[in-house]
Symmetry: C2
Subunit: 149 residues, 2 copies
DNA sequence: GGATTTTCGATGACATGTCAACGACAGGTA
DNA sequence: TACCTGTCGTTGACATGTCATCGAAAATCC
């Protein structure tokens, strides 16, 4: 079993990485709100909704795809609905469920937000990695995120 | 200036890394609550407080060290105070301020929590990196976190 | 078919974070 | 000394997430 302490190398790596875990999302989120008036949650909902050709998802499927609880997605889309970004429709396949639809307004907001967001991800992250680092980080991220829960 | 789109490599790296940004903290936080009954915020407050020999910090200094707003720290320590983990004392240097003190109870909770937490960080993260990856990740994290805000 | 169990989305209570405002005090300056 | 001006911690309003629970509808079982 793992020992309950860290050596100096591990300690410093963990500290540095933990700082990255906090600062990078904070900066990207700040940029997003400033540039587009969207919270990171808003952006994720809009962009995931836009992945389907008809821009419609059953709430439960969208929640599963995003790894959100249905409760969270229900609350959040209620607020987004009030802003006209998404709409609810009855699900013809399942009378318990509902379909979330990306409205034209929501799609427009997303289309204007995306380029700014990409620039932000570059400026704050991608542009500071070389090709080797990019490849290693990708492999490492997938490996760790794919560990059993 | 950066282009407003990503190539396939960048896109996949960013997706994988973003997934890591969400899943890793979620798992560590879940372990922490299960093992010790502490939220990640609790743990950070306790461990930072314990860094000073007398276990006392002025609220403003602790907030700066942790990169939290004073408001957030004030709210949070009010709740922790009700649980007996920390205490407030007048600051002899500055009558506006207050000193936050780690109580004996709080220190005990931290001491019992720390080994579990380290095991969790190992099992979910460190143990899956080799020495090269560790070094690269540390350099890369510091580089990006140290970018101007 | 009819009864039981499960799933779906909504909801309310609660925990936790942000932001703007505030009173109290410190520190500089005339 | 008597002002400004800024800082310190608190507070209240609000946004957002979790959790337990609910009614309705589907799925399963006999």
């Amino acid at each position: 079993m793992a020992t309950p302490w860290l050596n100096a190398d591990e300690e410093q790596t963990w500290r540095a990485f933990r700082r990255l875990l906090v600062t990078l999302p904070a900066r990207l989120d700040r940029d997003l709100v400033r540039d587009s008036g969207l919270s990171p949650a808003d952006y994720e909902v809009l962009s995931t909704l836009s992945e389907k050709p008809d821009r419609r998802w059953a709430l439960k499927d969208l929640a599963a795809k995003m790894e959100w609880s249905r409760s969270r997605l229900s609350h959040h889309t209620t607020r987004m609905q009030a802003r006209g970004l998404v709409a609810r429709e009855p699900d013809p396949q399942d009378a318990r469920g509902c379909l979330l639809r990306l409205t034209d307004d929501g799609f427009g907001v997303l289309e204007r937000a995306a380029p700014h967001h990409v620039v932000s991800v570059r400026a704050r992250f991608l542009d500071h990695l070389d090709a080797d680092e990019l490849a290693l980080l990708r492999a490492l991220s997938a490996r760790i995120a794919d560990l059993p829960d």
